[in-house]
Point group: D2
Chain length 357, copies 4
């Protein structure tokens, strides 16, 4: 298929359709309302369904219900809206429901601002809702990758019967890039061949989808099942990308999403100054590339690991945990919608390098 | 004042009044509805206010509004109810509002069960809502400590203008113990002497309480202010308790809340078998006793650190982070409302000790 | 088309589809939840849409939005649920939106009971919402008539751009009768050929659908437009049915819906006793057959007009208004889910006749 | 007590306090938000309670709960807000709960406008909610009368255990007039001496307040009890006022609320032209002064009865019903926030008189 110039928000919407997902529930919030706008006319074209609910709380419960039918289902929102869905996300995780959530993060906390941020890392990765659950979290760094990861998100959700969140920032939603979609779109998703969806019990025993288990042994069993799934996910689904990683690197930058692209520019420019820096970009935030980061950070040439984020420092805690005190971990971030520039990143690296001489 | 035999839920309620908090907003949910039942007749006696809202979402916004007046305000709920407040908690943190939240945790995820659990550690400590914020989290291990920490919670909330969460499990709510309240109750809290509450702008410039800052530099400034506060909190407010910590210990157990008391029983019994085990009990979960745990774990006699939790393993990630790979960190937990018994803990310790011979 | 044995609730559902209405929004409530159950599997078969909203308030606003697209839309509920939609009904009337509402009435006020009643006459006919609006109200007396009036309801809604309510009681929902549907179902309704729906403004000036007019002259103009429509409706859409009306009648019974059928049985039996009674059954409650009732009541042979209702007396006020003091108007009713029996009606008539000798 | 110059909205608020009502629940809506603003600082002064709920639906249920405690309770709103309370009003009527509601009407239907109207007559008087219930409706024509009727409203609500609505228009809310309050304010209302409120069941059998009666005989019994109350109300609580009613009158104007005052001006001016017109002003809209209107209208000198309203014609239907075809009933009204002027009323009367020569 030919490449097409598209905004990130629209590409995300189209990618869901490409994945055979024709059911979308949402409540508008800047900076991702364009997804809803696009789907409001696009879904009817493909015989799909878009319900604008009365609030994000309602959205959370609608996608629970829709996912229970075994069809592919998704929603999109931004930070405060995602907070309102935390109860429902915990319910869906507990009920083993596949569903895709997109968080185009804006600056927080509270109403905050409408400009890009990466300050919902903790919420997404550590579990903003209650109980022992995890969700898969994917962080694209380009519009094309947003498309690819959206399609992957639906596959992973189905495969592991779990909520999957694609986490981006306002930049990726607004950015326009050439994207390629699959030659053949997936047929609309169907409950066929699955043994759990609620499709009407005619001619077979009834199925129940729930997260309530008043018998503690059954509830613990459910938690063991979830944990077993998370174990497999940690083993099989870790994804990351390296950029200019070499034995000459003195500093290893870790960054995800569009922040990583800005770091690439900084790395390219630092190279011309003779400062060799590598980039480790986690693509999956959960499962987190724990061993992979440790291995890169442990390499003898690396003097410092630097986590660059559009936050006050969230992923850096996981970096520290993974690096296990073998190397100093430093942090650079801006917040509130301010995006660190390549120059700021370069200055930070120069400082680090200078201080170690 | 003479000691009084009280249920934990009721003692928590009475402690709020002792702290001069006469404003309570809540929506009932097992296993902490007794707080609301108690306050429904107790608050009128002291001229206080109890509003039962139509949902936990409404509660979250009501306590935002009430806290903005500079009076002490609190709510209580249990896991799913706390998830529904995540947006409001982020808003209150962003708006620098002092408020006390109590989470009497039940088994999750989802509706889960109504029996005790500690599986909301991540949500409480890492931030279930969006944005760069933290809340102080206090974990009492007895009814008396619940009373003391409730009073402290209001003081810390006021001092740092931040939400503070007291986190317990169903056991602490149902447990009956002798408790002592302060000789003199605090007078009902008042906005006097504070320069930020909304008390009517007659005769002075208007004040604004908000979490919305469309100018990114102002939003980042707000995040810097919050971060500065969290830094002070990390320096000054760390609390923990040691039990039978000695140079003979081979294992260091970490546990919080009522789980720690069960571990004490196990430790006492292991002692008679000649297995020396110490207990590190974090009282503040945020700020986490990072250095203190490292110091204890780093002692040469400690062979293994064992995190015992009523969860699939949440605090253990922070223990790993603090122990920094100096010692192996092991984990034991039960979930779904099943409370690990002293025997189970002893068996786990015996296994560890045996494997290391 | 061959006759088919169907329950009233299901026949109402199927009739909507026959009328080309494939968009249904509802929240379940006894005694009409079967409509939702039926449509939950039936609408997907015909490529239709059913959204179960989170409350009747949400339903009211969803049908507002859906109706604005120019497609046929309907909801069903029972008394308390209809009360929750009063704001939305007023909004839809003010915005000239065609929509069909079905109220399968249960005993009230408040939660009342789940058995049949006719006690929402005032609400439906006089306007339960605020402002100068009316809605067309249709009252079927059999399952076949429910089908026919459902199809008519959509036609009238479209023709006059107004909400139309079909009002029944629990009996008509539960009754099983042979029904006939049109040979050819209407094609799914479409906005084509209408000059007001919101279908996307590409290539034409934007349209606005609203009930807010801050300029009082524009708001009054809107009220004049509505009033002009109501005037035409009063002139053209009055429907009623007579049963055994003859110059021998001494009493004229007025009754609507299933209550009228019970009165027919009473009338048949009274005839064998030599007491001649006629029945006037309004089919449209708004527009009310004012002149027609006056004409029948004014006939010299009629001594008394008797309004029989499953209520404490609601339509009787309109009967009095129409009869204009020419004849005494008497009333018989039962409430709370108790349906007046033919014997009770006969006794009431015998009493009336005896008292006039 | 000395007279005090006050806005209607504020006088209504103060009158509630004078009546010993210290519990107020509301959601702001133009044109009566000043009541809430006033009470937000005034109620704390008298140790009262104001909860701003999250919506009018919530308000309706909060006043249900508060009224169940036997204390005096009230809310204020405007047209769309009152529509949102229809379910709750029906519930409170069915549960025999005393509560006072104030509707400062604005132009409708739908969002309409924010200027004065009288177009919620049907909703208030005929019952906007479902089921066989009525509420007492009081219509003041001056700020002083608003005060007096507010105090009466609480007395009637208590006496008959029923919701009572004070219905005004935006003018009465904004009008500033000298008002007098009672010398001695009522003490804060209390449940003492009442045998039904929920005050805690210690030492006595539990009480239940509900509107749900699944046994139809019990539900009908509840309806009979309500009807018996309404019968007494109709006998004892009818209130009206005559203005310049004399045997010289050729026309009898009927009007309520501030509309009646404008008609008085017109009547005064018509008098100077030699056209004698009397005014019948219903003060209670339910119970409606049926016999009293009939008696006045039936007087031989009256040629025409003219209903003047700020609506498309609502009360006029009750006038017709009461006049029983003895005299022609004519109507004049403006809507949308446009208030009929004395000149318009005079022109309408002149036309009528001319046409009858």
């Amino acid at each position: 298929m030919a490449k097409k110039l598209m905004k990130g928000n629209e590409a995300i919407a189209e990618a869901a359709i490409a994945a055979g997902c024709l059911s979308y529930f949402a409540y508008p919030i800047t900076p991702q309302s364009e997804v809803a706008e696009y789907l409001s006319w696009r879904l009817p074209e493909v015989n799909g369904l878009f319900v604008q609910a009365e609030s994000e709380v309602a959205v959370g419960n609608m996608i629970f219900g829709a996912a229970a039918t075994g069809k592919r289902v998704f929603t999109t929102s931004s930070s405060p809206g995602i907070s309102l869905m935390q109860e429902a996300i915990s319910y869906m995780a507990g009920a083993h429901l596949p569903v895709v959530l997109v968080n185009i993060m804006r600056g927080g906390p509270g109403l905050g601002g409408i400009l890009p941020a990466q300050s919902d890392y903790f919420q997404a990765v550590k579990g903003g809702g209650h109980g022992d659950y995890r969700i898969i979290v994917l962080a694209p760094a380009s519009v094309q990758e947003a498309v690819d990861l959206m399609i992957l998100a639906f596959d992973l959700a189905d495969k592991y019967r779990t909520p999957v969140m694609l986490i981006g920032d306002g930049m990726i939603g607004q950015m326009m890039e050439a994207v390629e979609f699959p030659e053949k779109y997936d047929p609309p998703s169907s409950p066929d061949g699955k043994d759990w969806p609620l499709t009407g019990a005619k001619g077979r025993p009834a199925r129940i989808i729930k997260s309530l288990f008043l018998d503690p042994y059954k509830l613990e069993k459910n938690n063991f099942d979830l944990a077993a799934t998370y174990k497999i996910i940690r083993e099989k689904e870790v994804r990351h990308e390296l950029y200019k990683v070499s034995p000459k690197n003195r500093v290893l930058i870790t960054a995800y999403g569009t922040m990583a692209r800005i770091c690439q520019t900084a790395i390219d420019e630092l190279e011309t100054e003779g400062i060799s820096v590598g980039l480790f970009r986690p693509i999956t935030l959960f499962p987190f590339p724990e061993k992979e980061i440790f291995d890169e950070a442990a390499k003898p040439n690396i003097e410092v690991v630097l986590s660059v984020e559009m936050s006050m420092g969230q992923m850096v805690e996981d970096i520290e945990r993974c690096v296990k005190d073998r190397k100093p971990v430093d942090f650079f971030g801006r917040t509130g919608g301010i995006v660190p520039t390549p120059d700021e990143v370069k200055n930070k690296v120069r400082e680090i390098v200078k201080s170690r001489k």
